[in-house]
Amino acid sequence: MRLENHAGLDHQPLVEIKHLKKYFTIKGGGVFKREKKEIKAVDDVSFQIFKGETLGLVGESGCGKSTLGRNLLRLQEPTAGEVLFHGENILQYKKKQLRDLRNKMQIIYQDPFGSLNPRFTIGQIIGEMFAIHGTAKGKEKEQRIKELLALVGLDSSRYNSYPHEFSGGQRQRVGIARALALQPEFVVADEPVSALDVSVQSQIINLLMKLKEDLGLTLLFIAHGLNVVRHISDRVGVMYLGRMVELSETDNIFDHPAHPYTAALLTTIPDANPNAKKERIVLKGEVPSPAAPPSGCSFRTRCPLATERCAKEVPKLQEIRSGHFVSCHYPLEKGQSLRDAIV
């Protein structure tokens, strides 16, 4: 089985993200609205995505996961940084190169209800991909679309149906078919199952795992649900307020989290296993606004381990153990629990 060991992963980076930043400017609340505020949605993020892996990305709402996903596909223009795809910086690509790139990098959106145009049939929605990129026409196009529908487990006779005639899970399948139309190498799946019911979620997760295997995709899988991310990912990255705070191989991150945020997060996920005894550590306070992030380490206002140093110095993402990256001045040792570290 694929995930029982990771020997099958060749550690060739397919995508390399270097010091990526995306800042949004918004009007401030002042009387004359002249005051401008900057939201550092993605703030100096660097990491690699290996060929053939599923990299899970987790973090609370608003921490910048979707923005990161959109920017590394250049669906939005980053403020600064580099994104290398097969070693080439795609941020310097011109229009034509960018269009070719779309064949290779795709996105599946979170919302199966809002992401499909209600006035188009399923055939048209998927067919649009071929039209934009001029790769298939007429009968050949129709044939390809029907194959895609079959690939994602939809009846090809639904070719002429409209989105509202489908359930949420079926619509998400259409979204997946659309993303796969041009046979991409790399797909960002932005919370593809969050809007779906539990029993339908597992249908879509199974589909994604199977397609990934069959088509040899590389996947950036963004999600809230840690159980889902754990199930599907080879490695997991944890974001907090625009920064990557921890990144490691999945079992390692779940068994030996080193960042206090990750460690606390893992104690608080509601788990359906009644036998799992856990000592919950409930983080105090609210997630700070990204328009006014704390100085130093952005997690320090809620961190049980924070010291003065944390207020002054931004911790860098460092490889503390082989393949285990953490940005914290006081990372947990292997086997040390957050509770132990607090005392």
């Binding site: 089985m1 694929r2 995930l3 029982e4 609370e60 709402s61 359930s167 949420g168 899970g169 079926q170 019911d197 539990v198 029993s199 339908v200 979620q201 597992s202 249908q203 997760i205 199974n206 795992m209 199977k210 809230h224 840690l226 159980n227 889902v228 754990r230 199930h231 599907i232 999945t250 079992d251 779940f254 606390a264 997060l265 608080t268 996920i269 509601p270 788990d271 359906a272 296993n273 009644p274 799992a276 919950r280 409930v282 983080l283 105090k284 306070g285 609210e286 997630v287 809620r302």
Partner: protein, 336 residues
């Protein structure tokens, strides 16, 4: 144990083109004093309609309680006038809604909204009510409650607003708190804060909680008992650990198995239930789960099973005995 709420054969419908569409169809359960009961089920299974029926709020939305009984502290709620109901709501029964922003009035300060809830049921001075409001905000764990009282809902984060909603719900010292997905819109770490808050308050006040969720993990952590709903009907009721360890109904079983476990094997295909929940106007005949059920027979498709006792449990399935026997057999084979 003293029963605080008893719902019997509740049927609630919404006006459709050809008559009432039954969103809740013959639901019976009870809640004891100090108990937390979780209602779990997929979107559209009738969880919210059940709670809105207990609050008698369905009438305001084109809906109607068509039959059945809802007894709260031995009194029949379905007979109450809307004035009587208004008094019971917000004094003895309070409700927290899923979306805290829409449930709060955007043009009034947090302080005004809480004191209003207090003054509705207690004849005390405005100043005293304000003090009490401050106390409530402190109780729900908001820092700097004096400042918060002067703020408007949009100035607070989602987690803070949900705390304000809980403060309002607690203003009248309710006996029963109905919480409809109170954490679905919130982040994991904030969700953990709110759940812990609800647990503490329940213990301190010996309050009963009816918690609606579609997250089995949340139910596992909060509930004494779990009620599983499917397509407007209850399919199973049981003690939390019993249901989690060995769900009886094929739907409950499918539901539990489709959730990836934190200690489960990674990367293997998850169990899933084929198909989707039926919509109100195309309810299958017989057992409503039959089109998706791996055990369904002609009997299932022809006749609806009733919720029946099985020891501590209540289950609505024709083939539950067969299912349990089969499971026992495979366990013996596997030498467990």
């Amino acid at each position: 144990m003293e029963k605080i709420l008893e719902v019997k054969e509740l049927v609630t419908g919404y006006k459709g083109k050809t008559g009432f569409l039954k969103a809740v169809d013959g639901v019976s359960f009870d809640i004891e004093k100090g108990e937390t009961v979780c209602i779990v089920g997929e979107s559209g299974s009738g969880k919210s309609v059940t709670s809105m029926s207990i609050m008698r709020l369905v009438d305001y939305e084109n809906g109607k309680i068509l039959s059945g009984s809802i007894r709260f502290e031995q009194e029949e709620l379905t007979d109450k006038s809307s004035d009587e109901m208004r008094h019971i709501r917000g004094s003895k029964i309070s409700m927290i809604f899923q979306e805290p922003l829409t449930a709060l009035n955007p043009v009034f300060t947090v302080g005004k909204q809480i004191t209003e809830a207090i003054l509705l049921h207690q004849s005390i001075t405005k100043k005293k009510a304000m003090e009490r409001a401050e106390e409530l905000l402190r109780l729900v764990g908001l820092s700097d409650p004096k400042t918060r009282l002067k703020q408007f809902p949009h100035e607070l984060s989602g987690g803070m607003r949900q705390r304000v909603m809980i403060a309002i719900a607690l203003a009248s010292n309710p006996e029963l708190l109905i919480a409809d997905e109170p954490t679905t819109a919130l982040d994991v770490t904030i969700e953990a804060q709110i759940l812990e808050l609800l647990r503490t308050i329940r213990e301190q006040r010996n309050m009963s909680i009816m918690l609606i969720t579609h997250d089995i993990g949340v139910a596992a952590e909060m509930a004494h008992r779990i009620i599983i709903m499917y397509a407007g009907k209850i399919v199973e009721i049981g003690k939390t650990n019993d249901i989690l360890q060995r769900p009886y109904h094929p739907y409950s079983k499918g539901l539990m198995e489709s959730v990836p476990k934190m200690d489960g094997q990674r990367g293997v295909p998850l169990q899933s239930i084929d198909g989707t929940i039926p919509s109100l106007h195309e309810m299958p005949s017989g057992c409503r789960f039959s089109p998706r059920c791996p055990l369904a027979t002609d009997k299932c498709r022809g006749e609806a099973p009733q919720l029946e006792r099985k020891g501590d449990r209540q289950v609505a399935c024709w083939h539950v005995d067969k299912l349990l026997q089969q499971e026992d057999k495979t366990q013996v084979k596997e030498g467990i």
